[in-house]
Every structure is written in C-alpha cells, then in structure tokens.
C-alpha cells in the first residue's frame, strides 16, 4: 500500500514531464499537441483553447494533468484517431511480443544462470558466461537483422515480417502455429540481451546463495544439488533477479520498438517509429506516458512479487 502511494507522485511527475516536453517544444506548443504538419488553422485554435495554451503555465499544466488523468491522451491528427484508441489497437501485439520475450528471457535466463552456477568454474560455466557476455553486447535490432538473414533469407525456414501469415490468420491450431512461427524470430531478437542479463544476475546471486550456511545445513540434511538449487537457492536468489526483470521492463519495451521495426510487428513500437517518421507528437507522447506507466507498474509488481517470495520484506 505504501508502495502504491509511493508510485503516485512518480506517475504525476511523468505526466508533468510530458507536459514539459510539450511546453519546451521549439516553436508553438500547439505543434506538440497536433503533430508537425499542416492541420487546419481552426483545428489548431481549438486545441490551443482546449489545452488552455492561452492561459498561464501552471493552469496549462493542470489542465493537461486533468485531461491525462481522464484518459485523454489527445488526438492524433495524423491518424485521425484519438491517441488512446490508436495505442489500444496496437497494445495486444506488443504485449504478445514483449510478454513472450520477457517470459522466455526470464525462464531461460534463470535456468541457464542456475545451471551455470551449479557447474561453477567448469567448462560449461565458462562457455555459458562467455556466450552471455557476448549476448549482452548485441544490439537487438542487429540481432533481428541477422536472424532474418539466416532463418528467413538464407534458410527460408521462418517468415521475416508481421505477426501472422500475410494471407490472413488461419483459425485453430494452424493459426496458433502460424502465430508462433511469426513470433519466434522477433521474440528471440528481443529477449537475447535480457536473457543474458538475467542469466548473469541469476548466476551471481545463486553462487552467493550456494555459499550460504543454510545451503550447507540443507546438504547436511541430505539434500542433493537439485533440491538445493530449486528448494533453496532459486528462491533466495530471486530478489536480485526479480529486480533485474522489473527494472529492465522499460528497456525491453524500448527494445521492442526497434525489434518491431525490423520485423514489421504491428505493435506500439512500430507505432512509435511511424509517429516519429510522421512527427505525430501526440502519439509519441502518449506512448512515452504508457511506457513510463508500465515501468512504474512493473516496479510496483516487482515489489509485490518480491514480498511474496521473501518473507523478510515487510
């Protein structure tokens, strides 16, 4: 509860930052609310009036705040649609991609880190660590390009674009299989860096835990490596891993902008790219707000999960 209270000022600050960007836009702030293209003068005047841009700055900020809190993120003149509905239309695709990538990165990362820690210092551990260090250095959009090059262009195994077959989504199992085929490459491209990061953090914190006395005690009770790992080490190592996952949600959302662009994935990231190309500022700011809210939410969620996993955090 205290955490939730703590998140509220952060959210307000994010909204005010958005307003600050509008106010600081070079030239006319209306431009930031309309988008940088020739909208009719009457429309611009309407926006100026609606947002109180003829009023003093504090009132402007307050009006903006109230509007946003009412769920009004403005109107995308470029798309002739309210920003909220524009974003909502793309949200599912991004959640699908980011969710898959995050789940994959978390599960595979934790397993890899755990196994690597288990074989601490051995060949497997060293090879894994080397691979993880490299993986963490790869820009996700380049990984995407290389995956397209290998698996779509050279081998021709997987599609390189979109969220489902160009010929339209099939129903039933065929549709699901088709969706997965399209999801595979972008999800891998997006998850690679986070997988590496999560694996590294997992490995370090499991190594820490494996050296702890209670692990010795468990082994003295006859617990084997697997039980030690899953019964004790993972749960105790969870806090830093969870923090890493929560802390990086903002980055993974941003990474999805790049990956969605490479793979033509019809999500928020792609929308962001398009709105940058068409200087559709209201959409851009709406996405910034959404992503920030997601990050605040993710941190909150991390805290809650952390609390569930670790009884010491009261």
């Amino acid at each position: 509860m205290r955490r939730i209270l703590h998140a509220i000022p952060l959210l307000l600050a994010v909204i005010l930052l958005n307003y600050g960007l509008i106010a600081a836009t070079p030239g006319d702030p209306v431009t930031a609310l309309v988008g940088d293209f020739p909208a009719p003068a009457a429309y611009r005047a309407q926006v100026r009036h609606d947002y109180g841009l003829d009023k003093p700055v504090p009132i402007q900020a307050l009006r903006y705040l109230v509007r946003v809190l009412h769920g009004d993120l403005g109107y995308s003149f470029a798309n002739r649609q309210p920003v909220v509905s524009l974003i909502a239309g793309r949200l599912l695709a991004t959640l699908e991609l980011v969710g898959t990538a995050l789940a994959f990165a978390s599960i595979a990362g934790v397993l890899l880190g755990a196994v690597s820690a288990q074989f601490g210092g051995g060949i497997f551990d060293r090879a894994t660590r080397g691979a993880l260090t490299v993986g963490y250095a790869l820009p996700e959009f380049w990984v995407g390009q290389m995956l397209i090059l290998c698996f779509a262009i050279w081998l021709g195994w997987l599609p390189s674009q979109g969220a489902h077959a160009i010929r339209g989504a099939a129903g039933g199992w065929a549709g699901i299989a088709d969706g997965l085929r399209h999801l595979l490459l972008p999800a891998i491209a997006l998850s690679l860096r986070y997988l590496a990061l999560i694996a590294r953090v997992t490995r370090t914190s499991i190594l820490d835990v494996l050296g702890a006395n209670f692990v010795l005690a468990a082994r003295a009770r006859g617990a084997g490596s697997i039980r030690v790992l899953f019964g004790h080490a993972l749960r105790n190592a969870a806090a830093p891993v969870l923090n890493t996952i929560g802390f990086n949600l903002g980055f993974i959302l941003a990474g999805s902008a790049l990956v969605e662009t490479v793979f033509g994935w019809p999500g928020i990231g792609r929308l962001l790219f398009d709105s940058i190309e068409s200087r559709d500022y209201p959409t851009m700011l709406g996405i910034l707000l959404l992503v920030s809210v997601c990050v605040v939410g993710a941190n909150l969620l991390t805290d809650i999960v952390h609390r569930l996993v670790d009884p010491r955090v009261a």
Binding site: F214, L216, A218, R219, R221, G224, R235, N236, P311
Partner: protein, 317 residues
C-alpha cells in the same frame, strides 16, 4: 561388543594440493554418550566434524587418509550418493549460528520436514513436524513462522529438530550455543543432553568453551593445530590436564578476570601448513624447552590411566 556409533581412525583432511587441516585424528563416540571436541578456533575441530558428514563448507577440501566408521561401516569410500543417503538420516548436524543456517525464505516447518522429504519419508509429514517441535519444546505455531520471526534459541531448537527428524544415531553439534545469549545456552544444552538420554543418541559436541564440555560431556578430546593433543574422561582431564595447551585453556577458564577475553594463552593457532617444527604448540608453551620441544614432534601417547596426550613434558612431571 557393539562398535561405537562413530569412530574416526587416523583421519586426515587436506586442502587439495595444499596443507593438511586435520591430521591423524582418531576418536570415537558411543551410543548415548556425549563427547566433547575442544580447541581454539582454527584448530581443525569443525573440519573434523564436517569430515564425519563427508561435507565441507569450502570447495577443494578432501578427506586424505584414514577411516570414518559409522556403526562399524567405513564411510570414507562412499560415493556422493551414498553419503547423501546417510546425511540427515543417520547423522544429524547442528550448527554454530542458527540464524545463518536456516533458509530465510522458508517457514521453519518446511526446514524441519526437509530431511524427511529428501529421504523419501513423507508419511504424516505435518504430524511428525509437530511432534519434532514438541520434542524440542517449541509450540506448533513455530512451524509456520519464518526464521526472522524466531528468537536465537528458537532457531537453534528448529535446527535441532531438523537434525533429529530422521532419528539419526549420531548428532554432531558444532558450537551449538556460541551465538546465543548465556541465558539461552543452558536451555539448549539441557535439551541436547535430554535428547541424548531419551533417544540414546551419540553426540559429538564441538566447542571452544570448556565450561560447556565440562557440564555435559563424559569424555573430551582437545585439538590443537589439526591434531589431538590430549584426551580422556572429562573429569580427569579437567582435574589434571597434562598438555600445557589444555592447562592454558583451563587456566583462562578458571580465572574470571581473563575469561572475558576468551583465552589468555599468548599468540594464536598457526595456520594450516604453517606449523613450526617440533611440537606445534611450543612457541606458545610456557614450559617449552629447546630440546626436544622445538626439534622433534611429540607423538600421541597413551598413558597408564588410559588418557592420551601429545607432550614431551607430560611424563616428566
């Protein structure tokens, strides 16, 4: 005659490719008997105890030579899997700092049940956990509490309950009261002693505190720099210590003014592999002579009364 529950025969423990930490240690513990192993920290007594579990807190520590006989069966040759089957079922262990040896994210009951679970004995788990809690004089509600919600003494009781879950024949207690308040210490010791009697446990009590050993143990082994330097019935040893080290320990115990400063023996235990030639204790020994103490290592010698010591000067008295 039944063999002792635990018998260590000429046990040596070494860091792989490095010095010996424990050298040529022999001791035994019979059923229903509590035996003390004393010495300053760093003297190798904990390592001796861990060796009896086939488990070491640090990597690259190995049993190098000797035999570990549990109820007459040599454990030194066992595979990891076979060791695992014994740990927690035939041998239980209680540790020095109960706070660190309990998993902070698991409720106490789960940790008590762990030995039962890993040894595949899941029948009536909850009831048995309750029984174990009762056995260590803890209320049932403790089962659901997390370690950070328990007091030091309660934590140690939980650890003892966990160690006893599978009804082991041997309990190794490594400084079980060191981290506890003096007022709590007595309770734990009483509990251990009660369990020994009640269950016919063999208990190996490791401690640097002679007072505790004097209270509870029938026999005592004194370790210095990885070796046994004196052993015998507690009363006899404490009444008339033969090794100057034992004498020093006792002196510091008996003198209330120095007791608070732990030990009055000047200097420290040499690190493994750094022992001086001759008697390992001679640099700190108030009675040491240039010859033979500094020249030739003394051997552990059994005296006429059955007590043993490792001192050139012991029979000179």
């Amino acid at each position: 005659m039944t063999p002792p529950v635990l018998a260590l025969r000429n046990l040596s423990v070494a860091i792989q490719g490095g010095p010996r930490i424990v050298e040529d240690v022999s001791l035994d513990v019979a059923a229903g008997e509590m035996v003390g192993l004393v010495g300053e920290s760093g003297s190798g007594k904990s390592m001796t105890a861990y060796a009896a579990l086939g488990l070491f807190p640090a990597p690259r520590v190995r049993i190098e030579a000797g035999a570990i006989l549990l109820e007459g069966r040599d454990l030194a040759m066992l595979s990891q899997k076979e060791w695992r089957a014994l740990r927690g079922s035939r041998i239980g262990m209680v540790f020095q700092d109960p706070a660190g040896f309990l998993d902070p994210v698991l409720p106490a009951g789960r940790q008590i049940a762990e030995a039962l679970i890993v040894h595949g004995d899941r029948r009536g788990l909850a009831a048995r956990v309750r029984a174990l809690l009762a056995q260590v004089d803890l209320p049932e509600s403790v089962a659901l509490r997390y370690p950070h919600e328990l007091s030091g003494g309660q934590k140690q009781r939980v650890l003892i309950a966990a160690a006893l879950a599978m009804r082991p024949v041997l309990l190794i207690a490594d400084e079980p009261t060191t981290a506890l308040d003096v007022s709590v210490q007595a309770g734990i010791l009483k509990l251990l002693d009660g369990l020994r009697q009640e269950l016919g446990l063999a208990v190996l009590l490791i401690s640097h505190d002679l007072a505790i050993v004097a209270q509870t143990c029938t026999r005592v082994f004194v370790m210095y720099a990885g070796q046994i330097v004196e052993s015998g019935p507690t009363e006899a040893v404490f009444a008339a210590p033969r090794h100057p080290y034992t004498q020093g320990l006792l002196a510091s115990l008996l003198d209330p003014q120095v007791r608070s400063e732990l030990y009055a023996i000047p200097g420290t235990v040499p690190a493994a592999g750094m022992s001086p030639p001759g008697c390992r204790f001679h640099p700190r020994c108030p009675r040491a002579r240039a010859d033979p103490c500094a020249l030739r290592p003394p051997v552990l010698t059994m005296r006429a009364d059955g007590r043993m010591d490792r001192c050139w000067l012991a029979d000179a008295d």
